[in-house]
């Protein structure tokens, strides 16, 4: 019952300026403010971050594995969206 009344928050860290925030784990806190402070104490003990996002776990809506066919398969047949699809002569190939 250590955290019987507390909410679960997901923690995202930006490890350096210029990089994306990345999910690192979760923790229990009373509200966003406190979650931010605990995230600082729990997930940045070795200066792992320069910016923190906290999100209530309940607020995350995740795609389901069952959806993956309808979500992701359709893009499998669109290789023309990828740079590697286009063969260019060597002279101009660093494009």
């Amino acid at each position: 019952m250590s955290a019987e009344n507390l909410q679960l928050f997901e923690i995202f860290l930006r490890s350096r300026r210029g990089l994306d925030h990345k999910h690192v784990g979760s923790l229990h806190a009373e509200d966003h403010e406190q979650a931010l402070e605990y995230a600082r104490d729990v997930y940045t003990r070795r200066s792992e971050g320069v910016s923190i996002w906290v999100v209530k776990s309940d607020d995350i809506c995740a795609s389901q594995e069952d959806d993956s066919e309808s979500f992701y398969d359709p893009s499998n047949d669109k290789p023309y969206r990828l740079a590697t699809y286009y063969q260019l002569p060597d002279e101009v190939n660093n494009m």
Partner: protein, 258 residues
């Protein structure tokens, strides 16, 4: 620079620095007692961070004392080989950890004091003390953010938490007057622009503490009792017990590397 100081100033700065080291190590030790005993795991980690800040601060002050003393006494000599009669920390630092309310209320009172104290120490003419203050004040701002929020939660939480918080305020209040005393050494250091005139901090401290306590719907006690003596080594019984424990391994085999 240490090399530019005359012998008398050097001694005075040394004694002044040791006191600041004593304050930091004693309260750091107290907060560290929470590690594995906190109300939930996140708080174990947070309190340990605060304790680590204070132990680090003690090491910086004692490290500077080592340099000033220049007689072979090292950082650990100051922490481990001095008796409680020689320790010169403020009494509020040595009070036991008590319950969570006691710890957080003491922390609030100390954090607000440290905030104003360090803001002054940053402009010390002594570059080392100023540099330590520069690092410490960042930590203190975070400590205060935490202790402020916790006192609100406790004061405005349940009936029980309010009672416990109020009792802590009442039981600790008499130890806060000492924060604003100035003895001869401190006067000398303040005059020289090396130390801080603690008396000048009292008004800001009172205003800030009062506003936070009121925000937490806690009653600011009357100034009906005052306990003093830490800077002269006149301590509560708690410090002797604390140091007995803290120093026992080091002293059982003195002079060794650990």
């Amino acid at each position: 620079m240490v090399s530019d100081m005359n012998e008398e100033t050097k001694q005075a700065v040394l004694n002044y620095t040791i006191r600041l080291g004593d304050d930091a190590v004693v309260i750091g030790h107290r907060i560290a007692e929470w590690c594995r005993n906190a109300p939930f795991l996140e708080e174990d980690l947070a309190l340990s961070n605060v304790a680590l800040d204070f132990i680090g601060r003690a090491r910086m002050f004692y490290g500077y004392a080592e340099e000033l003393a220049d007689d072979g006494r090292k950082e650990d000599y100051f922490a481990y080989m001095r008796d409680h009669r020689e320790y010169q920390n403020l009494l509020i630092m040595e009070l036991p950890r008590g319950d969570f309310a006691y710890t957080m209320v003491r922390q609030l009172l100390v954090d607000v004091f440290n905030l104003y104290y360090l803001e002054q120490l940053i402009s010390s003419t002594d570059e080392t003390l100023a540099a330590i203050a520069g690092k410490a004040i960042k930590e203190t701002r975070y400590h205060l953010r935490r202790s402020h929020e916790w006192v609100l939660r406790l004061g405005l939480g349940t009936d029980e938490s309010k009672i416990r918080a109020q009792k802590a305020v009442d039981d600790i209040w008499g130890f806060t007057h000492e924060l604003f005393d100035l003895d001869e050494l401190e006067q000398q250091m303040a005059d020289a622009g090396i130390g801080v005139d603690n008396r000048s901090l009292q008004q800001d401290w009172s205003a800030k503490v009062k506003s936070i306590l009121e925000e937490a719907s806690l009653i600011v006690p009357e100034d009906s009792w005052k306990v003093k003596g830490g800077r002269e080594g006149y301590h509560t019984e708690y410090l002797g017990q604390m140091l007995n424990e803290m120093q026992c391994v080091h002293r059982a085999n003195p002079g060794l590397e650990w």
